[in-house]
Protein backbone atom coordinates (compact mmCIF):
# COMPACT_ATOMS: atom_id res chain seq x y z
CA UNK A 1 0.00 0.00 0.00
CA UNK A 2 1.53 3.22 -1.04
CA UNK A 3 1.35 6.15 1.32
CA UNK A 4 1.29 9.44 -0.45
CA UNK A 5 3.01 12.35 1.21
CA UNK A 6 2.81 15.97 0.19
CA UNK A 7 5.74 17.45 -1.66
CA UNK A 8 7.04 19.52 1.24
CA UNK A 9 7.29 16.59 3.61
CA UNK A 10 10.49 14.59 3.93
CA UNK A 11 10.39 11.16 5.48
CA UNK A 12 13.35 10.19 7.60
CA UNK A 13 14.24 8.25 10.66
CA UNK A 14 13.89 10.15 13.91
CA UNK A 15 17.41 9.09 14.77
CA UNK A 16 18.84 10.65 11.66
CA UNK A 17 16.87 13.83 12.24
CA UNK A 18 18.07 14.17 15.80
CA UNK A 19 21.66 13.55 14.76
CA UNK A 20 21.33 16.11 12.00
CA UNK A 21 20.15 18.70 14.49
CA UNK A 22 22.93 17.82 16.86
CA UNK A 23 25.78 17.88 14.42
CA UNK A 24 24.96 21.35 13.17
CA UNK A 25 24.66 22.91 16.55
CA UNK A 26 27.88 21.98 18.27
CA UNK A 27 28.71 24.42 21.02
CA UNK A 28 32.41 24.23 21.71
CA UNK A 29 33.94 24.68 25.09
CA UNK A 30 37.43 26.09 24.43
CA UNK A 31 39.76 24.47 26.91
CA UNK A 32 42.62 26.58 25.63
CA UNK A 33 45.79 26.30 27.63
CA UNK A 34 48.69 27.18 25.37
CA UNK A 35 49.76 28.02 21.83
CA UNK A 36 46.93 26.09 20.19
CA UNK A 37 44.54 28.37 22.03
CA UNK A 38 45.75 31.28 19.94
CA UNK A 39 45.07 29.31 16.79
CA UNK A 40 41.68 28.43 18.21
CA UNK A 41 41.04 32.14 18.64
CA UNK A 42 42.23 32.71 15.09
CA UNK A 43 39.81 30.03 13.89
CA UNK A 44 36.96 31.89 15.47
CA UNK A 45 38.20 35.34 14.45
CA UNK A 46 37.80 37.33 11.29
CA UNK A 47 39.57 35.45 8.55
CA UNK A 48 38.73 31.82 9.17
CA UNK A 49 35.32 32.38 10.69
CA UNK A 50 34.20 29.16 12.28
CA UNK A 51 30.59 30.37 12.10
CA UNK A 52 30.46 29.09 8.52
CA UNK A 53 30.44 25.55 9.89
CA UNK A 54 27.92 25.97 12.63
CA UNK A 55 30.24 25.59 15.60
CA UNK A 56 31.04 29.15 16.52
CA UNK A 57 29.07 29.52 19.72
CA UNK A 58 31.95 29.38 22.15
CA UNK A 59 30.62 29.06 25.65
CA UNK A 60 32.88 29.20 28.62
CA UNK A 61 30.52 27.39 30.90
CA UNK A 62 30.84 23.64 30.49
CA UNK A 63 27.16 23.14 31.21
CA UNK A 64 26.20 24.88 28.01
CA UNK A 65 28.60 23.01 25.77
CA UNK A 66 28.69 19.68 24.02
CA UNK A 67 32.09 19.81 22.38
CA UNK A 68 35.29 20.23 24.31
CA UNK A 69 38.28 21.44 22.32
CA UNK A 70 41.41 20.80 24.33
CA UNK A 71 43.93 23.15 22.78
CA UNK A 72 47.38 22.98 24.23
CA UNK A 73 49.37 20.85 26.59
CA UNK A 74 47.80 19.66 29.79
CA UNK A 75 50.09 19.34 32.77
CA UNK A 76 49.61 17.43 35.95
CA UNK A 77 48.35 20.43 37.89
CA UNK A 78 45.76 21.11 35.18
CA UNK A 79 44.54 17.58 34.55
CA UNK A 80 42.14 17.38 37.51
CA UNK A 81 40.60 20.63 36.29
CA UNK A 82 40.20 19.14 32.83
CA UNK A 83 38.50 16.07 34.24
CA UNK A 84 36.21 18.17 36.39
CA UNK A 85 35.15 20.26 33.42
CA UNK A 86 34.60 17.15 31.31
CA UNK A 87 32.35 15.72 33.99
CA UNK A 88 30.41 18.96 34.21
CA UNK A 89 29.46 18.82 30.55
CA UNK A 90 26.13 17.22 29.72
CA UNK A 91 25.65 14.18 27.53
CA UNK A 92 25.95 13.89 24.63
CA UNK A 93 29.40 15.34 24.47
CA UNK A 94 32.44 15.06 22.32
CA UNK A 95 36.08 15.95 22.65
CA UNK A 96 38.61 17.19 20.15
CA UNK A 97 42.24 16.94 21.12
CA UNK A 98 43.84 19.78 19.24
CA UNK A 99 47.54 19.71 18.55
CA UNK A 100 50.43 17.43 19.25
CA UNK A 101 50.75 18.32 22.92
CA UNK A 102 47.18 17.48 23.85
CA UNK A 103 47.26 14.29 21.80
CA UNK A 104 50.66 12.89 22.73
CA UNK A 105 52.59 15.37 24.82
CA UNK A 106 54.37 16.65 21.73
CA UNK A 107 57.87 17.94 22.26
CA UNK A 108 57.31 18.09 25.99
CA UNK A 109 58.34 14.66 27.16
CA UNK A 110 58.98 16.03 30.62
CA UNK A 111 58.11 15.28 34.19
CA UNK A 112 55.01 17.43 34.36
CA UNK A 113 53.28 17.14 30.98
CA UNK A 114 50.58 14.51 30.53
CA UNK A 115 51.52 12.41 27.51
CA UNK A 116 48.17 12.60 25.77
CA UNK A 117 44.88 13.51 27.36
CA UNK A 118 43.29 10.34 25.98
CA UNK A 119 44.95 8.47 28.83
CA UNK A 120 42.55 10.15 31.20
CA UNK A 121 39.47 11.31 29.30
CA UNK A 122 37.80 9.94 26.15
CA UNK A 123 38.73 11.69 22.92
CA UNK A 124 36.83 11.58 19.62
CA UNK A 125 39.05 13.44 17.23
CA UNK A 126 42.76 14.15 17.14
CA UNK A 127 44.15 17.09 15.20
CA UNK A 128 47.84 16.81 14.33
CA UNK A 129 50.08 19.82 14.08
CA UNK A 130 52.04 22.01 16.40
CA UNK A 131 49.91 24.04 16.39
CA UNK A 132 47.40 22.91 13.74
CA UNK A 133 46.38 25.48 11.22
CA UNK A 134 42.84 26.81 11.55
CA UNK A 135 41.89 24.87 8.41
CA UNK A 136 42.88 21.64 10.14
CA UNK A 137 40.68 22.41 13.10
CA UNK A 138 37.78 23.22 10.80
CA UNK A 139 38.35 19.90 9.03
CA UNK A 140 38.29 18.14 12.38
CA UNK A 141 34.99 19.75 13.23
CA UNK A 142 33.54 18.68 9.87
CA UNK A 143 34.77 15.15 10.47
CA UNK A 144 33.27 15.19 13.92
CA UNK A 145 29.96 16.29 12.46
CA UNK A 146 30.10 13.22 10.20
CA UNK A 147 30.80 11.08 13.21
CA UNK A 148 27.88 12.56 15.09
CA UNK A 149 25.61 11.84 12.14
CA UNK A 150 26.68 8.23 11.79
CA UNK A 151 26.88 7.47 15.45
CA UNK A 152 23.18 7.96 15.94
CA UNK A 153 21.47 9.09 19.07
CA UNK A 154 18.64 6.76 20.04
CA UNK A 155 20.31 3.60 18.89
CA UNK A 156 23.83 4.84 19.56
CA UNK A 157 25.90 2.57 21.70
CA UNK A 158 28.48 5.18 22.51
CA UNK A 159 26.80 6.59 25.56
CA UNK A 160 24.90 4.87 28.25
CA UNK A 161 26.69 1.55 28.19
CA UNK A 162 27.73 1.10 31.74
CA UNK A 163 29.21 -2.31 31.11
CA UNK A 164 32.48 -0.89 29.90
CA UNK A 165 32.97 0.98 33.08
CA UNK A 166 36.22 -0.14 34.53
CA UNK A 167 38.19 1.29 37.33
CA UNK A 168 41.54 1.40 35.63
CA UNK A 169 44.07 3.10 37.76
CA UNK A 170 47.16 4.91 36.75
CA UNK A 171 50.03 3.27 34.97
CA UNK A 172 52.30 3.69 37.92
CA UNK A 173 51.29 2.42 41.29
CA UNK A 174 51.56 5.54 43.37
CA UNK A 175 49.05 7.14 45.70
CA UNK A 176 46.70 9.44 43.84
CA UNK A 177 47.69 13.06 44.11
CA UNK A 178 44.70 15.10 45.12
CA UNK A 179 44.93 18.61 43.90
CA UNK A 180 42.88 21.59 44.97
CA UNK A 181 40.26 22.49 42.46
CA UNK A 182 37.10 24.44 42.38
CA UNK A 183 36.51 27.07 44.97
CA UNK A 184 39.21 26.42 47.44
CA UNK A 185 39.50 28.96 50.20
CA UNK A 186 42.56 31.12 50.22
CA UNK A 187 45.44 29.41 51.96
CA UNK A 188 45.78 30.75 55.43
CA UNK A 189 48.70 32.75 56.53
CA UNK A 190 49.60 34.21 53.16
CA UNK A 191 50.49 37.82 53.33
CA UNK A 192 52.01 39.03 50.16
CA UNK A 193 52.53 37.42 46.83
Amino acid sequence: MAISVPENVVVSRLDSLASWCRKNSLWPMPFATACCGIELMATGASRHDLARFGAEVFRFSPRQCDLMIVAGRVVMKMLPVLQRIWQQMHEPKWCISMGACASTGGVFDTYSVVQGIDRFIPVDMYVPGCPPRPEQLIQAIIDLQDKVQHEGTITGREFGTRSRQQTKRALVDLPIITLPWGMAPAPQGIREN
Binding site: F31, A32, T33, A34, C35, G37, I38, E39, M41, A42, A45, S46, R47, F60, G72, R73, V75, K77, M78, V81, I85, V107, F108, D109, T110, Y111, S112, V113, C130, P131, R133, G182, M183, A184, P185, A186, P187, Q188, I190, R191, E192, N193
Partner: protein, 410 residues
Protein backbone atom coordinates in the same frame (compact mmCIF):
# COMPACT_ATOMS: atom_id res chain seq x y z
CA UNK B 1 38.84 46.91 55.94
CA UNK B 2 37.95 47.87 52.44
CA UNK B 3 40.70 50.11 51.25
CA UNK B 4 39.96 52.83 48.76
CA UNK B 5 43.57 53.64 48.20
CA UNK B 6 45.38 52.31 45.21
CA UNK B 7 48.86 52.35 46.62
CA UNK B 8 50.97 49.26 46.70
CA UNK B 9 51.33 48.87 50.40
CA UNK B 10 49.72 45.71 51.68
CA UNK B 11 46.82 45.95 54.02
CA UNK B 12 47.75 46.37 57.62
CA UNK B 13 48.39 43.01 59.19
CA UNK B 14 45.93 43.62 62.02
CA UNK B 15 43.11 44.27 59.58
CA UNK B 16 43.40 40.95 57.86
CA UNK B 17 40.28 40.69 55.77
CA UNK B 18 39.86 36.96 56.38
CA UNK B 19 38.59 37.61 59.87
CA UNK B 20 35.57 39.56 58.73
CA UNK B 21 32.47 37.57 58.00
CA UNK B 22 31.20 39.67 55.10
CA UNK B 23 34.32 38.92 53.12
CA UNK B 24 33.87 36.20 50.58
CA UNK B 25 36.23 34.23 48.43
CA UNK B 26 35.97 33.96 44.68
CA UNK B 27 37.92 31.49 42.62
CA UNK B 28 39.00 32.90 39.28
CA UNK B 29 40.43 30.40 36.83
CA UNK B 30 42.36 28.33 35.95
CA UNK B 31 39.90 27.92 33.11
CA UNK B 32 38.26 31.27 32.60
CA UNK B 33 37.69 33.29 29.44
CA UNK B 34 39.23 36.47 30.82
CA UNK B 35 42.48 34.90 31.90
CA UNK B 36 43.22 34.11 28.22
CA UNK B 37 45.58 31.49 29.47
CA UNK B 38 45.76 29.19 32.42
CA UNK B 39 46.29 30.96 35.67
CA UNK B 40 44.30 31.00 38.84
CA UNK B 41 43.47 33.73 41.29
CA UNK B 42 41.78 33.43 44.62
CA UNK B 43 40.12 36.76 45.26
CA UNK B 44 38.96 38.03 48.61
CA UNK B 45 36.01 40.30 48.01
CA UNK B 46 34.06 42.76 50.05
CA UNK B 47 31.03 43.12 47.84
CA UNK B 48 32.61 43.96 44.53
CA UNK B 49 35.79 45.39 45.95
CA UNK B 50 38.90 43.25 45.86
CA UNK B 51 40.58 43.16 49.24
CA UNK B 52 43.27 40.74 48.28
CA UNK B 53 44.28 38.47 45.46
CA UNK B 54 46.31 35.33 45.86
CA UNK B 55 47.71 34.10 42.55
CA UNK B 56 48.15 30.38 42.08
CA UNK B 57 50.25 29.50 39.06
CA UNK B 58 51.87 26.44 37.60
CA UNK B 59 48.89 25.19 35.63
CA UNK B 60 51.02 25.16 32.52
CA UNK B 61 54.37 24.26 34.00
CA UNK B 62 55.94 22.04 31.36
CA UNK B 63 59.58 21.83 32.36
CA UNK B 64 61.06 24.11 29.70
CA UNK B 65 64.25 24.62 31.63
CA UNK B 66 64.73 20.92 32.25
CA UNK B 67 64.22 20.13 28.59
CA UNK B 68 66.76 22.87 27.75
CA UNK B 69 69.40 20.74 29.40
CA UNK B 70 68.73 17.89 26.98
CA UNK B 71 68.22 19.57 23.62
CA UNK B 72 71.13 21.09 21.76
CA UNK B 73 71.48 24.77 21.03
CA UNK B 74 69.69 24.60 17.71
CA UNK B 75 66.96 22.18 18.75
CA UNK B 76 65.90 24.22 21.73
CA UNK B 77 64.78 27.07 19.53
CA UNK B 78 61.65 25.08 18.72
CA UNK B 79 60.82 24.97 22.40
CA UNK B 80 61.33 28.70 22.84
CA UNK B 81 58.60 29.21 20.23
CA UNK B 82 56.15 27.75 22.67
CA UNK B 83 57.29 29.98 25.48
CA UNK B 84 55.70 33.31 24.63
CA UNK B 85 53.51 32.01 21.86
CA UNK B 86 52.23 35.44 20.95
CA UNK B 87 55.57 36.55 19.60
CA UNK B 88 57.65 33.43 18.92
CA UNK B 89 60.12 35.30 16.74
CA UNK B 90 61.22 37.46 19.66
CA UNK B 91 61.92 34.34 21.71
CA UNK B 92 63.96 32.80 18.91
CA UNK B 93 66.03 35.95 18.69
CA UNK B 94 66.49 36.07 22.47
CA UNK B 95 67.59 32.46 22.68
CA UNK B 96 70.16 32.71 19.95
CA UNK B 97 71.35 36.06 21.23
CA UNK B 98 72.26 34.25 24.44
CA UNK B 99 73.76 31.25 22.69
CA UNK B 100 75.90 33.45 20.49
CA UNK B 101 77.05 35.43 23.50
CA UNK B 102 78.13 32.18 25.13
CA UNK B 103 79.83 30.86 22.01
CA UNK B 104 81.29 34.23 21.06
CA UNK B 105 79.87 34.44 17.54
CA UNK B 106 79.72 37.72 15.67
CA UNK B 107 76.82 37.77 13.21
CA UNK B 108 76.89 39.07 9.67
CA UNK B 109 75.35 42.53 9.11
CA UNK B 110 72.54 41.13 6.99
CA UNK B 111 71.60 38.62 9.65
CA UNK B 112 71.52 41.36 12.27
CA UNK B 113 69.18 43.42 10.15
CA UNK B 114 66.89 40.51 9.38
CA UNK B 115 66.68 39.57 13.03
CA UNK B 116 65.93 43.17 13.94
CA UNK B 117 63.10 43.28 11.42
CA UNK B 118 61.49 40.08 12.62
CA UNK B 119 61.89 41.05 16.26
CA UNK B 120 60.08 44.31 15.61
CA UNK B 121 57.33 42.59 13.62
CA UNK B 122 56.95 40.22 16.55
CA UNK B 123 56.61 43.21 18.84
CA UNK B 124 53.79 44.57 16.70
CA UNK B 125 52.06 41.22 16.69
CA UNK B 126 52.39 40.91 20.47
CA UNK B 127 51.11 44.40 21.19
CA UNK B 128 48.22 43.87 18.80
CA UNK B 129 47.08 40.83 20.70
CA UNK B 130 47.64 42.38 24.09
CA UNK B 131 45.76 45.56 23.31
CA UNK B 132 43.13 43.66 21.38
CA UNK B 133 42.54 41.45 24.39
CA UNK B 134 42.30 44.46 26.70
CA UNK B 135 39.72 45.84 24.31
CA UNK B 136 37.86 42.56 24.20
CA UNK B 137 37.76 42.27 27.97
CA UNK B 138 36.52 45.79 28.43
CA UNK B 139 33.81 45.31 25.85
CA UNK B 140 35.33 46.51 22.58
CA UNK B 141 34.92 43.53 20.31
CA UNK B 142 35.41 45.47 17.08
CA UNK B 143 38.83 46.59 18.20
CA UNK B 144 39.80 42.98 18.79
CA UNK B 145 38.76 42.02 15.27
CA UNK B 146 40.80 44.87 13.79
CA UNK B 147 43.81 43.71 15.76
CA UNK B 148 43.39 40.07 14.84
CA UNK B 149 43.06 40.81 11.17
CA UNK B 150 46.43 42.54 11.20
CA UNK B 151 47.94 39.64 13.08
CA UNK B 152 46.86 37.39 10.24
CA UNK B 153 48.77 39.64 7.84
CA UNK B 154 51.83 39.28 10.03
CA UNK B 155 51.36 35.52 10.11
CA UNK B 156 51.36 35.60 6.33
CA UNK B 157 54.65 37.45 6.31
CA UNK B 158 56.21 34.96 8.70
CA UNK B 159 54.87 32.06 6.70
CA UNK B 160 56.41 33.42 3.53
CA UNK B 161 59.65 33.96 5.40
CA UNK B 162 60.10 30.60 7.05
CA UNK B 163 57.25 28.29 6.18
CA UNK B 164 55.47 28.27 9.51
CA UNK B 165 52.85 30.82 10.35
CA UNK B 166 52.87 30.46 14.07
CA UNK B 167 55.74 28.56 15.61
CA UNK B 168 58.51 29.87 13.44
CA UNK B 169 61.79 28.49 14.84
CA UNK B 170 63.44 30.87 12.43
CA UNK B 171 66.83 31.61 13.92
CA UNK B 172 69.83 29.31 13.91
CA UNK B 173 73.12 29.56 15.72
CA UNK B 174 75.16 31.96 13.65
CA UNK B 175 72.38 32.92 11.31
CA UNK B 176 68.83 32.28 10.30
CA UNK B 177 67.02 29.44 8.61
CA UNK B 178 66.39 31.10 5.24
CA UNK B 179 67.45 34.36 3.75
CA UNK B 180 64.82 37.00 3.20
CA UNK B 181 63.37 36.74 -0.30
CA UNK B 182 62.14 39.67 -2.42
CA UNK B 183 58.59 38.44 -1.89
CA UNK B 184 58.92 38.84 1.87
CA UNK B 185 60.38 42.31 1.45
CA UNK B 186 57.47 43.23 -0.75
CA UNK B 187 54.95 41.88 1.75
CA UNK B 188 56.56 43.78 4.59
CA UNK B 189 56.54 46.95 2.48
CA UNK B 190 52.83 46.51 1.85
CA UNK B 191 52.28 45.96 5.55
CA UNK B 192 54.21 49.13 6.35
CA UNK B 193 51.93 51.02 4.01
CA UNK B 194 48.61 49.60 5.15
CA UNK B 195 49.14 49.10 8.85
CA UNK B 196 49.34 52.77 9.92
CA UNK B 197 45.80 53.24 8.62
CA UNK B 198 44.53 50.43 10.80
CA UNK B 199 46.51 51.84 13.67
CA UNK B 200 44.82 55.19 13.19
CA UNK B 201 41.46 53.46 13.14
CA UNK B 202 42.31 51.62 16.32
CA UNK B 203 43.38 54.88 17.93
CA UNK B 204 40.11 56.46 16.99
CA UNK B 205 38.13 53.50 18.27
CA UNK B 206 39.51 53.38 21.77
CA UNK B 207 41.76 56.27 22.77
CA UNK B 208 38.90 58.59 23.60
CA UNK B 209 36.21 55.98 24.04
CA UNK B 210 34.41 56.94 27.24
CA UNK B 211 33.77 53.40 28.44
CA UNK B 212 37.28 52.22 27.79
CA UNK B 213 38.96 55.25 29.35
CA UNK B 214 36.75 55.08 32.42
CA UNK B 215 37.56 51.44 32.89
CA UNK B 216 41.31 51.80 32.52
CA UNK B 217 42.38 55.25 33.66
CA UNK B 218 43.50 55.28 37.28
CA UNK B 219 43.19 51.50 37.51
CA UNK B 220 46.14 49.38 38.60
CA UNK B 221 48.61 52.16 39.26
CA UNK B 222 52.26 51.17 39.49
CA UNK B 223 54.60 53.85 40.74
CA UNK B 224 58.11 54.28 39.42
CA UNK B 225 59.77 53.21 42.67
CA UNK B 226 57.65 50.10 42.92
CA UNK B 227 58.26 49.25 39.28
CA UNK B 228 62.00 49.23 39.89
CA UNK B 229 61.76 47.57 43.28
CA UNK B 230 59.63 44.77 41.86
CA UNK B 231 61.86 44.24 38.80
CA UNK B 232 59.31 45.33 36.21
CA UNK B 233 60.59 45.85 32.69
CA UNK B 234 59.37 46.55 29.21
CA UNK B 235 56.20 48.52 28.45
CA UNK B 236 54.92 48.07 31.99
CA UNK B 237 57.94 49.75 33.53
CA UNK B 238 57.98 52.39 30.81
CA UNK B 239 54.35 53.23 31.46
CA UNK B 240 55.42 54.00 35.02
CA UNK B 241 58.18 56.35 33.95
CA UNK B 242 61.18 54.00 33.98
CA UNK B 243 62.97 55.00 30.79
CA UNK B 244 64.77 51.72 30.39
CA UNK B 245 64.85 50.08 26.99
CA UNK B 246 67.57 47.57 26.21
CA UNK B 247 67.38 48.56 22.56
CA UNK B 248 68.76 51.97 23.53
CA UNK B 249 70.66 51.20 26.70
CA UNK B 250 72.59 48.15 25.56
CA UNK B 251 72.11 48.14 21.80
CA UNK B 252 72.17 44.60 20.48
CA UNK B 253 71.67 43.40 16.90
CA UNK B 254 71.43 46.49 14.68
CA UNK B 255 69.43 48.81 16.92
CA UNK B 256 72.27 51.30 17.21
CA UNK B 257 71.82 52.15 13.52
CA UNK B 258 68.22 53.25 13.72
CA UNK B 259 66.41 56.34 14.79
CA UNK B 260 63.53 55.60 17.15
CA UNK B 261 62.10 56.81 20.39
CA UNK B 262 61.57 55.06 23.70
CA UNK B 263 57.90 55.44 24.57
CA UNK B 264 57.23 56.28 28.19
CA UNK B 265 54.32 57.47 30.28
CA UNK B 266 54.05 58.82 33.79
CA UNK B 267 50.80 57.68 35.29
CA UNK B 268 51.49 53.92 35.39
CA UNK B 269 47.86 52.83 35.07
CA UNK B 270 46.22 50.46 32.60
CA UNK B 271 45.47 53.29 30.22
CA UNK B 272 49.12 54.37 30.19
CA UNK B 273 50.21 50.83 29.44
CA UNK B 274 47.74 50.69 26.59
CA UNK B 275 49.02 53.99 25.18
CA UNK B 276 52.66 52.94 25.50
CA UNK B 277 51.94 49.80 23.52
CA UNK B 278 50.12 51.75 20.83
CA UNK B 279 53.02 54.19 20.57
CA UNK B 280 55.58 51.39 20.48
CA UNK B 281 53.91 49.86 17.46
CA UNK B 282 54.47 53.08 15.55
CA UNK B 283 58.10 53.16 16.62
CA UNK B 284 58.51 49.55 15.55
CA UNK B 285 57.15 50.44 12.15
CA UNK B 286 59.80 53.15 11.89
CA UNK B 287 62.54 50.68 12.77
CA UNK B 288 61.31 48.11 10.26
CA UNK B 289 61.10 50.73 7.53
CA UNK B 290 64.65 51.92 8.17
CA UNK B 291 66.00 48.39 8.36
CA UNK B 292 64.29 47.40 5.15
CA UNK B 293 65.65 50.40 3.28
CA UNK B 294 69.21 49.76 4.44
CA UNK B 295 69.16 45.96 4.34
CA UNK B 296 72.79 45.02 3.68
CA UNK B 297 73.65 42.48 1.03
CA UNK B 298 76.06 39.65 1.57
CA UNK B 299 75.84 36.31 3.33
CA UNK B 300 73.22 35.78 5.99
CA UNK B 301 75.01 33.08 7.95
CA UNK B 302 78.47 33.28 9.44
CA UNK B 303 81.29 31.76 7.43
CA UNK B 304 81.41 27.98 7.41
CA UNK B 305 84.97 28.16 8.67
CA UNK B 306 83.61 29.07 12.08
CA UNK B 307 81.82 25.73 12.39
CA UNK B 308 78.63 27.13 13.83
CA UNK B 309 76.05 27.62 11.09
CA UNK B 310 75.09 24.65 8.95
CA UNK B 311 76.36 25.10 5.39
CA UNK B 312 73.89 25.30 2.55
CA UNK B 313 73.14 22.26 0.43
CA UNK B 314 75.12 23.74 -2.43
CA UNK B 315 78.16 24.13 -0.23
CA UNK B 316 77.88 20.61 1.12
CA UNK B 317 77.67 19.01 -2.31
CA UNK B 318 80.16 21.18 -4.15
CA UNK B 319 82.93 22.12 -1.71
CA UNK B 320 85.08 20.02 0.54
CA UNK B 321 84.93 22.64 3.31
CA UNK B 322 81.16 22.50 3.26
CA UNK B 323 81.15 18.72 3.50
CA UNK B 324 83.58 18.71 6.39
CA UNK B 325 81.72 21.47 8.20
CA UNK B 326 78.39 19.71 7.82
CA UNK B 327 79.85 16.44 9.00
CA UNK B 328 81.47 18.04 12.03
CA UNK B 329 78.30 19.82 13.04
CA UNK B 330 75.95 16.91 12.56
CA UNK B 331 78.05 14.23 14.25
CA UNK B 332 76.75 13.73 17.73
CA UNK B 333 80.16 13.78 19.39
CA UNK B 334 81.32 16.93 17.59
CA UNK B 335 79.31 20.09 17.16
CA UNK B 336 80.09 23.49 18.57
CA UNK B 337 83.00 24.30 20.78
CA UNK B 338 81.24 25.44 23.91
CA UNK B 339 83.28 27.04 26.68
CA UNK B 340 82.98 25.97 30.31
CA UNK B 341 81.45 29.27 31.17
CA UNK B 342 78.22 30.95 32.12
CA UNK B 343 76.74 33.96 30.46
CA UNK B 344 73.58 35.99 30.33
CA UNK B 345 72.19 37.94 27.42
CA UNK B 346 68.83 39.60 27.15
CA UNK B 347 66.77 41.38 24.56
CA UNK B 348 63.94 43.83 24.87
CA UNK B 349 61.14 41.45 24.04
CA UNK B 350 57.61 42.83 23.52
CA UNK B 351 56.83 42.01 27.12
CA UNK B 352 59.99 43.20 28.76
CA UNK B 353 63.48 41.97 29.35
CA UNK B 354 63.67 38.41 28.08
CA UNK B 355 67.02 36.84 28.75
CA UNK B 356 68.62 33.45 29.03
CA UNK B 357 71.25 32.52 31.56
CA UNK B 358 73.27 29.74 30.01
CA UNK B 359 75.86 27.48 31.53
CA UNK B 360 77.93 25.64 28.97
CA UNK B 361 79.82 22.46 29.80
CA UNK B 362 81.48 21.64 26.51
CA UNK B 363 78.74 19.30 25.30
CA UNK B 364 76.15 19.85 22.61
CA UNK B 365 73.47 20.87 25.11
CA UNK B 366 73.42 23.61 27.70
CA UNK B 367 74.20 22.55 31.24
CA UNK B 368 71.61 24.99 32.51
CA UNK B 369 69.24 27.04 30.41
CA UNK B 370 67.50 29.53 32.63
CA UNK B 371 64.94 31.81 31.08
CA UNK B 372 64.27 35.19 32.67
CA UNK B 373 60.55 35.43 31.91
CA UNK B 374 58.97 38.89 31.98
CA UNK B 375 55.44 37.51 32.43
CA UNK B 376 56.44 35.72 35.61
CA UNK B 377 57.83 38.86 37.15
CA UNK B 378 54.94 41.00 36.00
CA UNK B 379 52.34 38.64 37.38
CA UNK B 380 53.88 38.94 40.82
CA UNK B 381 52.90 42.61 40.64
CA UNK B 382 49.27 41.73 40.23
CA UNK B 383 48.04 41.50 43.85
CA UNK B 384 49.54 44.89 44.58
CA UNK B 385 47.93 46.42 41.52
CA UNK B 386 44.43 45.11 42.06
CA UNK B 387 44.04 45.70 45.78
CA UNK B 388 41.25 48.18 46.39
CA UNK B 389 39.74 47.98 42.92
CA UNK B 390 36.55 46.28 41.85
CA UNK B 391 36.08 42.81 40.46
CA UNK B 392 35.52 44.10 36.94
CA UNK B 393 38.94 45.76 37.03
CA UNK B 394 40.61 42.37 37.42
CA UNK B 395 40.32 41.66 33.71
CA UNK B 396 41.55 45.12 32.73
CA UNK B 397 44.65 44.81 34.92
CA UNK B 398 45.32 41.23 33.83
CA UNK B 399 44.99 42.21 30.20
CA UNK B 400 47.26 45.22 30.51
CA UNK B 401 49.98 43.15 32.19
CA UNK B 402 49.88 40.77 29.22
CA UNK B 403 50.41 37.55 31.14
CA UNK B 404 51.26 34.65 28.85
CA UNK B 405 50.88 31.43 30.79
CA UNK B 406 53.45 29.45 28.88
CA UNK B 407 56.05 32.06 29.69
CA UNK B 408 54.70 32.47 33.20
CA UNK B 409 54.98 28.82 34.09
CA UNK B 410 57.43 27.46 31.52
Amino acid sequence: MATQETTLHPADADDRPQQQDYVWTLNFGPQHPATHTTLRLVLLLDGERVLDAVPDIGYLHSGFEKIGEHLDYNQYVTVTDRMNYISPMANNVAWHESVERLLGIELTPRCKYIRTIIAELARISDHLLCNGAVGLDTGAFTYFLYAFYQREVLYDIFETLCGARFTNSYTRTGGVMYDMTPLVVEKIRTFLKTFPKTLDDMDRLLNRNRIFVDRTRGVGILTREEAINRSASGPIARASGVARDLRKDEPYLAYADFDFKVCCAQSGDCYARYLVRMAEMRESLKIVAQALENLPSGPVNVDIGERTALPTKNQVYKTIEGTISHFELVMSNRGFEVPHEESYAAIESPNGELGFYLAGDGTHAAYRARCRPPSYIHFSLFPALIRGHTLSDVVAVLGSLNIIAAELDR
